[in-house]
């Protein structure tokens, strides 16, 4: 059974504390960039190892200053996932124990998975399948 929940970013920590006994397994955390809505959508994919239910939590963050509380204290697995989102989307996680770039070199500029990211030297592949 899959459930989906849309909450605001202030509710995240309280919700997390409430559900962590049931949804004890964090599958992944990621983000999706929506420039037209001016929003970065966070996606938390949780699972209950007991009865195999899935819960997807979605939170919209403003694109200019994306900030959200870290859930690494609730699900330790979140630590690396949040670092990845920080690295590739530039989302700031407040209260994260060790927020550094994880995949890219420390001196990298920009957040490559944002839709408007460009880097000189990157060649776009011509479309062959329309």
């Amino acid at each position: 059974m899959t459930e989906e929940k849309k909450i605001s970013r202030e509710e995240l920590l309280a919700t997390g504390e409430n559900i962590k006994a049931q949804y004890n397994f964090l599958v992944f955390i990621t983000a999706v960039d929506y420039p037209e809505r001016n929003v970065i959508g966070m996606v938390y994919h949780l699972r209950s190892l007991g009865n195999r239910d899935t819960l997807i939590i979605k939170i919209d963050l403003p694109r200019e200053k994306p900030e959200i509380a870290s859930v690494a204290g609730i699900w330790p697995a979140a630590e690396w996932h949040e670092r990845e989102v920080f690295d590739l989307f530039g989302v700031n996680f407040l209260g994260h124990p060790d927020l550094r770039r994880i995949l890219l070199p420390p001196d990298w500029e920009g957040s490559p998975l944002r839709k408007d990211y460009t880097k000189p030297g990157v060649i776009k592949r011509p479309e062959t399948i329309k």
Partner: protein
Amino acid sequence: MNDLKNLKTEEYFLSMGPQHPSTHGVLRLILKLDGEIVTGATPDIGYLHRGLEKIAENRAYIQIIPFTDRLDYLSSMSGNLAFVLTVEKLAGIAPPPRAEYIRVIMAELNRLASHLIWLGTFSLDLGAVTPFLYCFREREKILDLFEMITGSRLTYNYMRIGGVAADLSAQFIKDAAAFIQDFKFRVAEYEALLTQNPIFLARTKNVGIIKADKAIAYGLTGPMLRASGISRDNRRDFPYAIYDKLSFDIPAGTVGDCWDRYAVRVREMRESAKIVEQALSGLPEGNFKTKVPLSLKPPAGESYAPVESPRGEIGFYLVSNGTAKPYRLKIRTPSFCNLSIISHVIKGWKVADVVAILGTFDVVLGEIDR
């Protein structure tokens, strides 16, 4: 003797990798050492980060399949399978039954090949060279089988949305059945070399224990989680293809040490052999592919279909906006999550044990860095 007390000591930082024979790729571990004891560790990853998730946003769905080969290159079939299942789920495509069987046969043979590489390199890490040569001998036979059908040894690009790329030949079915028969004796051969070997036991028993609650908290999957005593396997929990029609066991450990992780994988090889046998004998006649347009446009929405790769749960989180390209493709890879626990596990062990512990993690850097 008194002088020794006043002796000034300093912690020593050791950078292990990115070029190091036991990190299986380009993983870098920054170890903090007190003598030979590891007191802290910081993993440094990303040396293979190619930006696959960004590349995928500029590719048609069928063009992404080759990239999924290059994620977990030791078990390309699982990557292929996870991706096509995700797209099929979103687009509502059902592959014909023969294709489902073929997918399972290929995925399980690939699991065997992957576990064989793991066993070979792991024993090499511990100083046993013979199992390495044995394992590669059997692995070459599996690769011959793959080559017969897909034409390639490592990067198969075999699964298609709505089926598979090519049908199995009669020769393949014959050879695969013969291989599985032979393989059962081979597993016993590896076990004879390692399972009760006193050196091997000394290096692995009670080394690098991961407790069950820690394993869950850090999101471990696959043999790593099962070795800690938690019997979770996507093949049984979220059955895909035809796994619900097959009978197989999910081996689990009790302690969660290196030896358990070894034993779980070796027993998994036997189970995989069993699965291939059943799937081969039940293989139905019929089509191996349904017709799917080249520029497939799944409806707007999102989907996620977890697959059990040899390392754990691999899954693609796909967000589509109704065009021929994915809007966003997040790749959840097992090695990435499994590795995140490393700094907690190796604390307190000697440097030589780090090699053994890391060996049982069975990480593939291609899928960690994406």
